[in-house]
């Protein structure tokens, strides 16, 4: 062995010439390492693979002509983008490569942006400048920006786009959940324009809670809010029995009666279930409130709280006072002031009081509270930050109660504490934190929510969009949201509209709900007599609608007040109400309109004019449209419906004047009842 080594040494370095030769060879060899590394680099491999794949395709010539070898780079200095991804992802811009199953050669799916103008890492994250797969896609010691998993990709849209986009349902849902589920009560989210994200839920004030419910119910509710109402958004704080006992003791002791008092009621609750069911139906309570039916399905809207077990919660006298005038207890409530009479209040409260669940409070037995318990309860209320969401007399809303989330999407992984077995990525951390906040340690305050897996993904998406870039984006690149309108109608009519909570369902000038039609141009649209009639006795205009306008027992004075205001103020500049007559169209025009309606434009597909033959379920029923709408509105609507009501389903048929005139004549002749025959000729 030793001899062999010696002879090898002798053969290689035996004399100076040999030694020089061998050392030169080694030197040359080492010089070749760098070019070899370059030659065998990953991106060259992928480019060779691409050319090989392309060779056998029918469009090989085009693809080869488009191909440029070498490192490719998209450089966008104003965005800070240096992306070399296209060195390996060669086929992104080739529209014919959609049949290639996997990257790196497949066409990029259609998006509204151009790759050359946006690069790749703007949306996908990762390291744009890297030229190996692992460095570009994974986080490494030097770079901490892994590729964003596909399920959160919409978060990148949200960095620049502040308003909801039609193509990003997940981001939109996440953002709305942040506001609607009350996340932003505790967590501050500052947006780049300096505004703060506002909560859109309206947690009830607890200052007068003893009027409304019992200590036993509060206890049961605190222990498990979803046991009372499965749709409740109140999270579970996992309180011990003692803590729930003390908090309930404090809330009751702290409560003061509502001024104006609830006790002086003449009517007794009437336990007539049939009358109650029908009044509940007639008043369209289900447009806003849900009740779980026998099959376990929720029936009704989600504007107001679920009422499945409301009889186990509220005190009968409070319920009666609430039904009489909800604004006396909560001036900001979304519930309309229905103007029920005494017997209606009695019937409805009797009906709602029967919606009980005997299991809910069966095991709740609370002894009278001691002052120590009340004091402890007050400390707990402060500790858990109850006043972040609820108004509680004597307790200030805490500032910065929970960590600010304005830049959570850029939080370095090194600053996070992961659970064993978790993937060490930011999206996973956020998702797990939302899913099981208390799993990260004992004594954490964030409560347990009841989000579905899809909601957690949405929330994570919206949180990832709050990052360094979204906060530092040049204003020129930002696509701002339309600022929230705080429109309020003025005067007596304005007060009346607030009292009737019109804005809980209707939108006017950008403010209000989206359950019912936008009323911004209502004054141009409808005839005065119809509106008076409708407010007194609202019917439905659409055959297949389940959410409807309730009837308020308005006085004639109130109806006139509202009608005058709507007819005067809610006028569209595009429609001159008096420019076209409501009668006097020639029979020929009406007949032409009829032919256009049933023939060329086939309006009967969506609308009903003759209830015997037409069946269209989509648009409003038009049997009495001549008594409802103004001729000028119909005419303008024919010419361009979206101009009057953006986003309306009716297609714009780009009608000529003659067709629009004729259809207006035909529709105006539809007065309903006997007059319809005249129109028929």
């Amino acid at each position: 062995m030793k001899e062999q080594l010696t002879s090898l040494w002798q053969r290689l370095f035996g004399d100076s010439v040999r030694a020089f030769g061998v050392v030169s060879l080694i030197f040359l060899g080492s010089l070749a390492i760098a070019p070899a590394k370059n030659f065998f680099s990953e991106w060259r491999h992928y480019q060779r693979g691409y050319l090989k794949m392309v060779r056998n395709r029918s469009d090989a010539n085009t693809l080869q002509r488009h191909f440029h070898g070498g490192i490719q780079q998209i450089w966008l200095p104003e965005l800070g983008v240096v992306d070399r991804c296209t060195s390996c992802h060669v086929g992104l811009k080739e529209s014919s490569l959609t049949d290639v199953p996997v990257q790196p050669y497949r066409t990029h799916p259609v998006i509204p942006h151009k790759l050359d103008q946006f690069g790749c890492t703007m949306c996908h994250r990762g390291q744009g400048a890297a030229t190996t797969v692992s460095e570009a896609h994974s986080s490494t010691l030097a770079w901490e920006q892994p590729i964003l998993p596909a399920k959160y990709i919409e978060s990148s849209c949200g960095e620049c786009h502040r308003a909801p986009l039609p193509g990003t349902p997940q981001l939109n849902q996440g953002r709305s959940l942040l506001s609607r589920e009350g996340c932003v009560h505790c967590h501050t989210v500052k947006l780049s324009d300096g505004s703060v994200m506002k909560a859109t839920d309206d947690p009830p004030s607890l200052s007068h809670i003893a009027d409304k419910t019992t200590r036993e119910w509060i206890f049961a509710w605190l222990k498990d809010p979803q046991a009372y109402a499965t749709t409740s958004t109140m999270p579970n704080f996992k309180l011990s029995d003692d803590d729930a006992r003390d908090i309930s003791a404090f809330l009751i002791a702290n409560s003061t009666p509502v001024p104006g008092d609830t006790a002086t009621l003449s009517a007794k609750a009437s336990p007539d279930p049939a009358a109650g069911t029908s009044l509940y139906g007639e008043s369209f309570c289900a447009s806003c409130h849900a009740v779980q039916n026998a099959a376990g399905n929720m029936v009704g809207g989600d504007v107001g709280p679920e009422l499945t077990r409301v009889g186990s919660k509220v005190k009968p006298e409070w319920l009666q006072a609430w039904l009489r005038n909800p604004r006396a207890y909560d001036p900001g409530t979304a519930m309309p002031h229905y103007r029920f009479n005494d017997s209606q209040v009695a019937t409805l409260s009797g009906f709602l009081s029967t919606k009980t669940d005997s299991d809910l409070l069966a095991n709740v037995h609370l002894a009278d509270a001691t002052p120590e318990q009340v004091a402890h309860g007050k400390r707990l209320v402060a500790d858990y930050g109850c006043a972040s969401c609820h108004e509680i007399a004597g307790i200030k809303k805490p500032e910065n109660f929970a960590p600010e989330l304005s830049r959570i999407g850029s939080k370095p992984v090194t600053q996070l504490v992961f659970l064993p077995g978790m993937q060490h990525t930011l999206p996973d951390y956020i998702a797990t934190k939302i899913k099981q906040p208390r799993s990260f340690g004992q004594g954490l305050k964030m409560p347990q929510y009841t989000f579905t897996p899809a909601q957690i993904d949405s929330l994570t998406t919206s949180l990832l969009s709050l990052n360094e870039r979204s906060n530092t984006l040049p204003p020129s690149l930002e696509v701002a949201a339309t600022p929230e309108s705080d429109y309020q109608p003025a005067g007596k009519a304005g007060k009346l509209m607030t009292d009737l909570a019109c804005f809980s369902c209707h939108r006017i000038n950008g403010h209000g709900g989206d359950m019912a039609p936008d009323l911004t141009w209502e004054g141009s649209s409808v005839q005065r007599a119809w509106l008076v009639d409708f407010l007194k006795n609202p019917g439905t205009l659409r055959p297949a609608l389940i959410r409807r306008m309730p009837r308020f027992n308005l006085t004639d004075g109130e109806v006139n007040e509202l009608t005058d205001y709507i007819m005067t103020v809610y006028q569209s500049p595009a429609v001159d109400r008096d420019s076209m007559p409501l009668s006097g169209y020639s029979q020929g025009q009406v007949e032409l309109g009829r032919q256009l309606f049933y023939g060329k434009y086939a309006c009967q597909g969506c609308h009903i004019v003759d209830s015997k033959t037409d069946k269209g379920y989509i648009g409003p029923t038009l049997t009495q449209v001549g008594s409802r709408l103004t001729a000028a509105w119909i005419y303008q609507w024919m010419k361009n419906p979206q101009a009057l009501r953006p986003g309306t389903t009716e297609p714009n048929r780009a009608m000529g004047d003659e067709d629009a005139q004729a259809l207006t004549a035909f529709l105006i002749s539809q007065k309903g009842g006997a007059k319809k025959e005249v129109a028929k000729k």
Binding site: K37, P112, S134, K151, P166, G167, A454, D457, A602, G605
Partner: protein
């Protein structure tokens, strides 16, 4: 060749690379050459770890596996399917079997939660499924073993929509679905039955696959009469933009059953 494979474990553990491309790792192996021995050791120990992932022990065995719900859903790329996938294990007589092990598998970027579980008392297993990052059809496989340890498989297909198709779906919901979808829900009553000439549901691949993109564009823009069809289909060309119509067509192509020619590949287990 062993040399090459071992470096993949060291270098790119996190990123799944197609096997045929592994020769690209040759130059990297020079860098990692001194790690060769360690890498081989690692690779062997890794493969051991993989096989011992926690898998519940079945207490019973079925003879067949059937879909209870959750097939043929339409989701978004990377997103959760709207409903979980539920499968049921039955014995030879068709009675549900509790305690049988069901395993789910699919293309590598489809993650099941859970990926395997024992059937509950009604013989069912429920799993939440986020689809992969590519738009297209995904084949999910649910399998269980029978008494003789033979695999019984059930194949379920789901659809993932990309950006453009998601946009198309939104337009469909707003403008098209009330007539083109014969099924009613409480919130959305279908107008299908009211129409004298029945529209084609967008899943009706037998009909729609035969209509070219150009013809579909013409019908949507100019209405039914453009192709001698019913005037009940109005012209949408002044309401929807060109890209809106493209988005709608890409959505229609994506959900068609049987699949259209342009539906793209089916992503399945390798």
């Amino acid at each position: 060749m062993t040399h090459v494979q071992s470096t993949i474990h060291v270098g790119t553990g996190a990123f799944a690379r197609p096997a045929e491309q592994s020769s690209a790792a040759v130059p990297r192996s020079m860098r990692y050459g001194f790690l060769l021995a360690a890498a081989i050791l690692l690779s062997t120990s890794c493969s051991h770890q993989h096989t011992t992932s926690s898998e519940p022990k079945p207490t019973a065995f079925g003879a067949a596996i059937v879909e209870s719900s959750g097939g043929k859903q339409v989701g978004q790329t990377g997103g959760l399917l709207p409903q979980p996938v539920v499968v049921q294990v039955n014995d030879a007589q068709g009675t549900a079997v509790a305690g049988a092990l069901v395993e789910f598998s699919a293309a590598p970027d489809v993650v099941f939660d859970p990926a395997n579980a024992l059937t509950d008392s009604s013989g069912q297993v429920t799993t939440n499924v986020p689809l992969g990052g590519m738009a297209g059809r995904y084949q999910l496989v649910a399998s269980t073993s029978d008494k003789s340890h033979k695999k019984v498989e059930l194949k379920i297909e789901e659809i993932a929509l990309g950006y453009q198709q998601t946009l198309g779906r939104r337009l469909n919901d707003q403008y098209c679905e009330r007539c083109h979808n014969p099924e009613s829900t409480v919130e959305r009553v279908s107008n299908y039955d009211n129409l004298e000439v029945k529209p084609h549901p967008f899943t009706d691949g037998d009909t729609l696959n035969k209509i070219s993109d150009a013809d579909l564009t013409a019908i949507i823009s100019h209405g039914g009469p453009a192709l001698n069809k019913s005037a009940l289909m109005p012209a949408w060309g002044n309401t929807l933009s060109k890209s809106d119509i493209q988005a709608l067509i890409s959505y229609i192509r994506a959900i068609s059953d049987p699949p259209s020619r342009n539906a793209g590949p089916v992503y399945a287990k390798n």
